[in-house]
């Protein structure tokens, strides 16, 4: 009987579960509830993905008020895909977290951790699903506030400064988005995304709308850590508890990338953003610089979490690059990489978390000799690392393939070449760790306590992601079909025109009242 409510459930379920967790008090029960709810959300998200692949768009009017007067939840293939990733990773991270946070967060804070995690999930699902520009801001802030809390839960004092920096940057970003939404509202009188799209489409070139878009893009770029606005990300991912890093690295920035896609393609329309404002060149240059600069910085880090964080910023460059190509193929490659990168970074951060748990450090020195002492963890790390590099038969290869193909189709030979060169840097930074793990003897001080393999509850989610990296590197039918459908839907003006006219008729209806 709840099928028609599915679009709103991935938001509402964790939102209800969060206070319940708090009321339960016992951390074991809170963990169980959080995991179950997250798992149910994942199932719902997957069924939504299937439905959207089949039928196109699902719209859900909250409070029964039809858009644009009420708030609308809108699911298409693109956000259903990312929603599946987010809820799926969340579930895995929660399974992983039970043992992981036991050593990293004081016992009394565990319930708070699960509560904050659920709130974060609520926020991320809300951002993805909502069809209302202001509602997006609200959910952005839910997820951000929960994230600041999650980051600061770590016992390292540097987590506090990292969280504070994140808070300041995040709030500036959110406020920029608020300014942008205000300017859009000022010119159009509406907040519903499709309605906005229809009304913005009537303007050829408008200075207020341009500024609004610029502010939104800058704000979102802060959230997604686009170079050079990425400086908050590495400390936050480095010092956050491992489970939090794993969750954030594979979901939070991806959601922000989706927000950017949403604003560019759905609301303003590719033509307005790229041809009238020339945003594509700016994004392209920033993406390339991000890939090279951050990959290079990653190669010289001694802390593996910092290294992975910089690698994340570089990988975000690939996604933005896909967007900036302004073709269906490019957008599809970007979306595909969102999906695949979540799998890789999730597994990598989980592996590092397991190492941190057993050795008490995420420094590259701590990895020495782990190939023997923690073989399963390091094997998962290796698989995900190969995926980051883009070795064939891993998910990373698939996204790289489509990205380069998209660039070549536009005759951007140089860009295609740079993308491939960029992935060589990944060989360097992943290779350093593998070498330490498999070829170096453990440092002397660590030898007095024997390092054991990570507990099963951490290995299982890690390996699910590692195997997923291989599975989606071989059987690409699901990921590629979904990304392709999503890109086509976002890009095809005709597909959206149907809905625009629908919303126009709705507004005429409103005028008639």
């Amino acid at each position: 009987m709840f099928e028609q409510h599915f679009p709103v459930l991935p938001i509402v379920l964790p939102l209800i579960a969060a206070p319940l967790c708090m009321l339960l008090g016992r951390s074991q029960l809170a963990w169980l509830l959080a995991t179950i709810v997250s798992g149910i959300s994942f199932c719902i998200a997957v069924s939504l993905l299937m439905v959207t692949l089949d039928q196109g768009v699902l719209s859900y009017a909250l409070g029964g008020w039809e858009p644009p007067w009420g708030i609308e939840m809108r699911l298409d293939v693109a956000n259903a895909l990312i929603l599946s990733v987010v809820t799926g990773i969340s579930t895995l991270v929660l399974v992983y977290a039970k043992d992981s946070i036991a050593t990293e967060i004081p016992q009394s804070q565990h319930t708070l951790f699960y509560t904050a995690h659920l709130l974060c999930l609520t926020g991320l699902s809300g951002i993805l699903t909502t069809g209302d520009a202001f509602n997006l801001f609200v959910f952005l802030e839910i997820s951000s506030l929960a994230t600041y809390t999650l980051v600061s839960l770590a016992s390292d004092r540097r987590a506090l400064t990292a969280a504070f920096r994140y808070l300041v940057m995040g709030t500036i970003g959110a406020t920029f988005i608020l300014i942008g939404v205000g300017m859009m509202y000022m010119k159009t009188g509406t907040l519903n995304m499709l309605d906005l799209a229809a009304r913005i489409g009537e303007f050829e070139y408008n200075r207020t709308l341009n500024t609004g878009l610029a502010f939104i893009l800058v704000g979102v770029s802060i959230k997604l850590a686009l170079f050079p606005l990425h400086m908050w990300l590495p400390p936050a991912y480095t010092h956050a508890p491992s489970a939090v890093s794993a969750f954030l690295a594979s979901t939070a920035t991806k959601v922000a990338v989706y927000v950017m896609i949403r604003f560019i393609f759905t609301i303003y329309g590719a033509e307005y953003v790229f041809y009238s404002m020339g945003m594509d060149v700016i994004l392209l240059v920033l993406a390339i610089v991000a890939i090279f600069n951050c990959s290079f910085v990653a190669t010289v880090q001694s802390n593996v979490k910092t290294m992975l964080a910089y690698s994340s910023v570089a990988q975000i460059g690939y996604m933005i690059l896909g967007i900036s190509l302004v073709t269906t193929a490019g957008l599809m490659a970007g979306l595909l990489h969102i999906f695949n990168h979540a799998l890789m970074k999730g597994a990598l951060f989980m592996a590092v978390g397991a190492v941190f748990m057993r050795t008490g450090s995420a420094d590259i020195k701590a990895f020495r000799g782990l190939g023997k002492t923690m073989p399963w963890t390091m094997a998962a790390f290796t698989i995900a690392g190969l995926s980051i590099i883009g070795v064939p038969l891993t998910a990373g290869f698939v996204s790289k393939w489509y990205l380069v193909t998209a660039a070549l189709e536009q005759q951007h030979w140089m860009i295609a070449f740079l993308v491939l060169i960029g992935s060589l840097l990944a060989i360097v930074y992943i290779g350093r760790i593998l070498e330490a793990a498999y070829f170096k003897d453990p440092v002397q001080s660590a030898s007095d306590k024997t390092i054991k393999e990570a507990p099963l509850m951490m290995l299982v989610p890690m390996w699910i992601l590692a195997v997923a990296n291989i599975y989606f590197g071989i059987d690409t039918s699901l990921s590629v079909t979904a990304a392709d459908a999503a890109a086509n839907w976002l890009f095809e003006p005709s597909a959206q025109a149907v809905f625009q006219s629908a919303s126009q008729s709705a507004s005429e209806l409103g005028a008639a009242r």
């Binding site: 644009p68 708030i71 907040l191 309605d195």
Partner: protein, 325 residues
Amino acid sequence: MVELIDLVLLGMLAITALRVIFLKDLFAVVMLFGLYSFLSALIFVNLDAVDVAFTEAAVGAGISTVLMLGTLALTGRKEKANNHTALLPLLVVIITGAALIYGTLDMPPFGHPDNPAHQHVAPRYIEESPKEIGLPNMVTSVLASYRAFDTLGETAVVFAAAIGVLSLLGMPKPGGVAIDSGLKSHLVLRVVAKLVIPMTILFALYVQFHGDYGPGGGFQAGVIAAAAVILYALVFGLPLATHVVRPNFLKVLAALGVLIYAGTGVTSFFLGGNFLDYNVLASDPVVGQHIGIIVIEFGIGITVFAAMLGIFYGFAAQAERTNIQ
């Protein structure tokens, strides 16, 4: 006339903001910020946004300022001089400002009734909401019904903040030894406080349930009620306050408020409506709307009350700790 008042207030705001930039005394900075909030609340009144003004005064000038002062008590009131070059920030600000000014050039003129913002969605709220929802206060109608999901999100944000502060600062142990508060010895203060606190709580209840008709609502009510307890804690000491309103009770309340709100939405599921569709709550849609709004405003009220008070407790507990040390 409106424009003139507006201009004067804006000018005062500009002066305040500039003073904040250059002042090194953080206590003065925070007080100026309180002033800034008050002035902007006045502007909001002047621009017909009475609900917003109410909230800004209660939050900006009230809660935020109290929290900032509490922080200053723990961190020191002097900003240290530093030899940072302010060139880069200045450049960023100038570019951003220039972009914004550029953006204003195509803006619709200030206050013009034909502006697009007043054309599309808003007229329906103004014209239909009294009939559809049955409330005179359109802001409440939009807030609690048309855009109720935003407000649910807002409640979740408050809850998230409470979680954050709780995890960062913890809660005071209830019923600890009362340290003599400096304020306690002031007889006048105690008498006045004893008089004011019940009135404030009464007012909070009025705001809570009158929000449908005039300015106010669950959020403002929650803040005011929290302010009453905060005043009590300031005058009579934290241990007594935690005796009256126990920290654990606050946790339950904060969670309960969100659950009440979300639960209302889920109830709509079972009655055959969409999430947060109040029409199905009663046989008559307007009555249903009314029930729904009262219930969710109540949910907001207790979450905000509990969260704000909890946040204050968190800061106060830290201050207590420092005092003991």
